[in-house]
């Protein structure tokens, strides 16, 4: 069984989550760092997965949850991100994709 959660990411969301004056909220800082535009903080995408895992596992997630992910592509303002948790033999395969189907984050999650 696979459970999904979809979020639309705006620049306002990115600035609120990460604060001002950094690669997530300021285009000049982002470009000085070699990025074409501000990118969403990886932890934002992981927060979407954390929200999903709390939906899937309930309050136990806060006491026995474990998650391990790799960030594979940046999230930009305007992107739509769908995170999914597919139940496996020892937990869940977690993935985040954008509207083009590109994988943004991939990993595993489980309750100990």
């Amino acid at each position: 069984m696979t459970t999904e959660l979809t979020k639309h990411v705006t620049q306002d969301d990115m600035t609120l989550y990460s604060g001002p004056g950094n690669i997530h909220s300021d285009i000049d800082v982002a470009r000085r760092t070699g990025l074409e535009a501000p990118i969403a903080q990886g932890m934002m995408t992981l927060a979407f997965a954390s929200e999903l895992m709390t939906q899937v596992c309930g309050p136990e997630w806060l006491e026995r949850g474990e998650i391990s992910v790799k960030f594979t592509k940046p999230v930009f303002a305007g992107d739509t991100v769908t995170v999914s948790a597919a139940a496996g033999t020892d937990g869940y395969d977690v993935k985040a994709v954008n509207r083009s189907g590109q994988t943004l984050m991939v990993g595993t999650a489980r309750l100990r």
Binding site: Y17, I23, V29, M44, L46, E51, E63, F71
Partner: protein
């Protein structure tokens, strides 16, 4: 400000205090449009990854780009509580001409271990500053 050349595996960080205020909680909830009832009373523990950035950034400021993140949760942490974070650098290496570091962090409320985080990230600054 710390430099890439000074960072070493085993280097320790903290203790650093994080006060989990309602205002901070609201910022994370609103920024992600988090609709989970559990996260109104208890902090979404994924913020441990954000606090790991602060812990590293206190000595090595500047942007980082997350590569991997591992999180383990042991107890819910309520809004209003105070976390004490400590960490140790567990990786420092060049991969495909990028500077990677990892920091392993423990987060405690009082004496109780509540969260663990291992953050692996790329330090773009070290290239821009010509440190590697």
């Amino acid at each position: 400000m710390g430099r890439w050349t000074e960072a070493h595996v085993g280097e320790t960080f903290g203790p650093m205090e994080f006060r989990l205020t309602e205002k901070l909680q609201q910022r994370y909830i609103d920024g992600t449009h988090n609709a989970i009832p559990e996260h109104e009373r208890f902090f979404d523990p994924s913020v441990a990854g954000n606090f790991a950035i602060y812990l590293l950034g206190e000595r090595y400021p500047g942007p980082i780009i997350h590569s991997h993140q591992e999180l383990k949760y042991f107890a819910p942490v309520a809004v209003g509580q105070t976390l004490i974070a400590t960490g140790a650098l567990s990786l420092k290496e060049m991969r495909r001409e990028k500077a990677y570091v990892a920091i392993d962090c423990d987060f405690r409320v009082g004496d109780e271990l509540v969260w663990q985080a291992k953050m692996t990230c790329i330090w773009p600054e070290v290239h821009l500053r010509g440190e590697v």
